[in-house]
């Protein structure tokens, strides 16, 4: 739940591609009811972007905030379900680009939308054990939903990353982290398939809700905290509805999740989702604020984290672009261009 050595976040970075497709445009193409779309619009990566390039942007932003020498990173871990190569690490490219090579552990992590948060938990352990001075964990995706599938309305691109270091250097100190995992096949993609399959309503109650709630409750129980102790809460956000509902069930209410709820504006960035919400909250948080964050990955599991913000956040958060500035940097594209960028049209 907590490493023997006190650790925290020394730097964080976010990135969202600038292109957006309105979900009503997707509905128009497939003849669906434009009034029933789950969110307003979602981010789309440009034709020269993929999980590698997005992770590099994230890592550079995190390094700017942390102001550390990249050669002091002992790990560059990237969690994603949209690796550009099926075999060949994404993380080595990222590590090379940020000059963290060669004395660094690099690996790609996979656990659907939880792949990002588990890299952060592993960084906590890596630094907490004394094996690393700093470690970087990134959650990133350029998620794809099958054309006309419900997931196409939300599958988006973006992510966030966290540099973990000692508590005394941190902008937010870790209070504890826990995971809750079972074998629950609610969403999957078989080898060589382009698009994932999912269990429709089965992805809700027995999957998302059960894991997010169980993990969150367990961590608060361990820490002896309650929702009222927290200023902000972030939950994995596949849409707008789920995180709001889970927040209500857990007793956090609506107000505490709104600042970290980015999916209505950019969609579900999968492995980047909860981590991006956490970055948006850090952009806003002040010294003494307590932040609760729970991810969710299909298959299925959740990682929960509890942080307390320090006085170092204020001067560091302004050193790189905020989540809000990335949300506001947008260019709308139509379905045809979206289909081209996402290689849905074979050339």
């Amino acid at each position: 739940m907590k490493p023997s050595k006190a650790v925290g976040i020394v730097g964080y970075g976010a990135y969202i591609p600038k292109y957006r497709i309105q979900t009503t445009e997707i509905a128009r193409v497939w003849g669906n009811d434009p009034n029933l779309v789950p969110i307003r619009e979602k981010s789309v990566p440009g034709s020269d972007e993929d999980s590698v390039t997005i992770a590099i942007e994230i890592a550079r932003n995190a390094l700017m905030r942390a102001s550390i020498d990249p050669r002091d990173l002992r790990a560059v871990w990237v969690g994603s379900e949209s690796k550009p190569y099926a075999v060949k690490p994404t993380s080595t490219i990222v590590a090379e680009a940020i000059a963290a090579t060669p004395f660094v552990n690099a690996a790609d992590w996979e656990f659907a939308c939880k792949a990002g948060s588990e890299t952060v938990q592993a960084c906590i352990a890596y630094v907490g054990s004394g094996m690393a001075k700093y470690a970087l964990g990134i959650g990133v995706d350029t998620a794809q939903g099958a054309p006309s599938d419900a997931l196409e309305y939300t599958a988006a691109a973006g992510g966030a990353g966290y540099i973990i270091g000692s508590a005394k250097e941190s902008l937010a100190v870790l209070e504890g982290s826990i995971s809750y995992v079972t074998d629950t096949p609610d969403f999957w993609r078989r080898q060589h398939e382009h698009y994932p399959k999912h269990g429709n309503r089965f992805t809700g109650e027995p999957s998302y809700f059960r894991h997010v709630i169980s993990s969150s409750k367990a961590l608060m129980e361990e820490l002896g905290t309650k929702p009222d102790d927290y200023t902000y809460a972030i939950f994995h956000q596949p849409n707008r509805k789920f995180p709001l509902e889970v927040s209500k069930i857990l007793g956090f209410g609506k107000e505490k999740v709104l600042d970290g709820l980015v999916s209505p504006y950019i969609g579900n960035t999968y492995a980047g989702s909860a981590l991006l919400g956490l970055a948006a909250v850090l952009d806003k948080a002040k010294e003494g604020d307590k932040i609760f964050c729970t991810s969710y990955g299909s298959g299925a599991g959740s990682d929960s984290f509890s942080f307390e913000v320090t006085d170092k956040l204020a001067e560091r958060k302004v050193k790189a672009p905020s989540v809000k500035s990335y949300i506001e940097r947008r260019e709308e594209i139509d379905y045809a261009r979206y289909a081209r960028y996402r290689k849905k049209i074979r050339m």
Binding site: K18, G46, S47, D48, E49, D50, V52, T53, I56, E57, P84, Y85, I93, E96, A97, I98, A99, D283, K284, K317, V318, A320, P321, S322, K324, S325, Y326, E328, R329, E331, M347
Partner: protein, 135 residues
């Protein structure tokens, strides 16, 4: 098999690493083994900051075949803050936004890929500077 020729350029392209003449201080990108100014052969690696301004640009409509997927795209001569001028694509910008004097920042992007089954080559592009708005 084009792997080695891209692999050996990777660090220079991913991070914008060039060279600095140890004798006269002249900066070069790409790196040079002989200083174009004083002909010294002593040099060290130089990490460029990655900011500069556009001194000329064009929008490519008729590209080399390996860049077809990326159409339409702009290419510019970017004068780096430190002096050297480099040729690079401008990304995340509309053609009509571009102008001589525009400030840009370096990003690492996908430059080209060898079909669906070959290697992906990443490298530098430049984009309009992302403003640091904070809530």
């Amino acid at each position: 098999m084009d792997v080695p020729r891209h692999w050996r350029e990777q660090i220079k392209r991913y991070r914008l690493v060039g060279s600095k003449c140890k004798k006269c201080g002249k900066l070069s990108y790409p790196h040079r083994l002989v200083c174009p100014k004083c002909r010294s052969r002593e040099y060290e690696e130089h990490q460029f900051i990655g900011r500069g301004k556009i001194i000329s640009f064009t929008n490519i409509n008729s590209p080399p075949k390996e860049h077809r997927y990326n159409l339409p795209y702009a290419v510019a001569l970017v004068e780096l803050m430190e002096g050297p001028v480099i040729t690079a694509q401008i990304t995340d910008a509309r053609a009509e936004e571009l102008e001589i004097g525009m400030e840009v920042e370096m990003v690492t992007r996908k430059i080209m890929e060898y079909n669906e089954d070959g290697i992906i080559c990443y490298g530098y592009k430049f984009r309009p500077i992302v403003e640091y708005a904070h809530p």
